[in-house]
Symmetry: C2
Subunit: 310 residues, 2 copies
């Protein structure tokens, strides 16, 4: 799993940070990519990467402020131009579907692929053999959701050497063991799956929060997460101001990660007020509370491997 | 007057050309800027210039395809963030106002300035002391307008030396002469305005066409224009294809300029199929018909001065 940050700024685009978009690459897991929020010019940011819009199968929108959605019509349209024909599902708050449909109709945009919508409410919004996704409403000035992506545990590897040592022949019996079924050999010996299959590998948990002030809901949604992506529009000098705008500070994001018992915290949605030379201090303040904190930047890529973030 | 091309590509943005937007700078004339079309990421293109969104007082939309309008919500919103408080008027086809209003409402975007709409139909759509603007429907696959901006003639300069030689004293009589009124001096001498005021300076005529196939209407709208901005999505090898998509070729654009008796032709809205090394040939084909043809590029600026384009 990789996190490719396409836009990490708040409100207006700046030369340094575009408005919100995060591509979660699940190519090894399910050969898909999932996009979280889609600010204006997200497709332009993608032009400077090797990401393929047609591989994006799901888009999750946290809330309907312009800096999180104004890139959607262009992205949907270009995915079509580029020959995307796989279905695409958009998860988002009430009102999004109508706006997208109005916008596509007005601009006479005919998509080459089926577009589906899921209106997000609290609870499980998606589940398949590999993932469960929960949504929870956060506290912003408009309805805004955070998403918790839980990868299901992966079946352990078949230990072929061990199986063969116990007399299991090459062939379909190996497959049965791998799928967790105990077997009986021709000579009557029983081979237990647990003896020849490594323990299940724990899946990851990723919590992508939308805009929010510091709140209990952010902690609840992120409990025990491997990675939290949390907004940090303000810093500790303007905590009251942050809350009044429905935003959080670097310090508050770190508290959420600490209280949720998370492993890693990535701060995004930074205000353009913070200049490059402010950032070391900005990061240090958060790390004072939660050491495993990182600042995101446009086009930064983080890789999750062996239960660590690189 | 300056033409600052912000986006000169067709359909999808590419690394080389963004979708359509042209800023017409009238700072010397009326201290305003007028924007023609506003593809996605027009505000991002502006970030790399010294152009100030709050100086934009009028936006003209040629048609409602996404590559001409998807940057509007973000531009309007950022103009507000940046403290714009001067009224802004959007001229565009039917349906645009409703979409903008729906989009601003959905995203809870509250503008700090009055936003007005003019639904464009053929004929004079704007007139003041300095300019007359005509709209004419072109031939595209959706309703699409071209705009003809005529600057009114500028009053000639007062030739002070000549006036003083004829005995006109400093003071209000000079102002009367400048305004075209003949005067009588204290000694009874008559001074004619035409003798001490230079001839009126001819205003410019600029024709900005939207997407269109080669058509009579483009020629009519551009008759005698100083500058025509014409799309050239295709080249002469695909003339039939161009027409079937409602687009024009480089050669057809040159024919429009020739038949309209224009002075300069600027080609924009180029397909990303044309690579940098194709462009000399692409330009030469048009210049074979209309020598004063230029290719536009993103961030190219043309200045109109002394009846010439630089």
């Amino acid at each position: 799993m990789q996190l490719h940050f396409l836009g990490t700024g708040a409100g207006m685009p700046s030369k340094e940070r575009n408005t919100s978009a995060l591509m979660v690459k699940l190519l090894d897991e399910v050969s898909e990519m999932w996009l979280f929020d889609c600010g204006e010019a997200t497709q332009h940011q993608i032009l400077h990467t090797s990401l393929k819009p047609r591989k994006v199968t799901k888009i999750f929108i946290t809330h309907l402020h312009g800096d999180h959605i104004f890139g959607l019509p262009g992205f949907l349209s270009s995915r079509s131009f580029q020959g995307g024909d796989e279905p695409l599902t958009i998860f988002g708050p009430s009102g999004l579907q109508q706006w997208i449909e109005q916008t596509l109709a007005l601009s006479k945009t005919h998509l080459t692929y089926p577009l589906r919508f899921v209106e997000v409410q609290e609870g499980i919004i998606y589940e398949d053999a590999h993932f469960t996704i929960h949504a929870k409403e956060l506290r912003h000035v408009v309805p805004c959701y955070g998403y918790r992506i839980e990868q299901k545990d992966l079946p352990g590897e078949l230990l072929i050497d061990k199986a063969q040592a116990l007399g299991v022949p090459k062939g379909p019996l190996l497959g049965q063991l791998k799928n967790g079924h105990d077997i009986v050999l021709e000579n009557g010996d029983v081979v237990l799956a647990k003896d020849v299959v490594a323990p299940a590998k724990k899946g990851f948990t990723l919590s992508v929060l939308g805009d929010t002030k510091y709140c209990e809901e952010a902690i609840q949604l992120s409990m025990g997460a491997d990675i939290i992506v949390h907004e940090a529009t303000f810093d500790g000098t303007t905590t009251d101001l942050a809350a009044s705008y429905g935003h959080a500070t670097n310090v508050e994001a770190a508290k959420v990660a600490q209280q949720a018992g998370a492993h890693y915290l990535l701060l995004n949605h930074l205000s353009a007020r913070f200049l490059p030379y402010d950032l070391p201090q900005f990061l240090a303040e958060a790390q004072g509370i939660f050491p495993n904190t990182f600042l995101t930047a446009d086009q930064a890529v983080y890789t999750w491997q062996h239960n660590k973030l690189f």
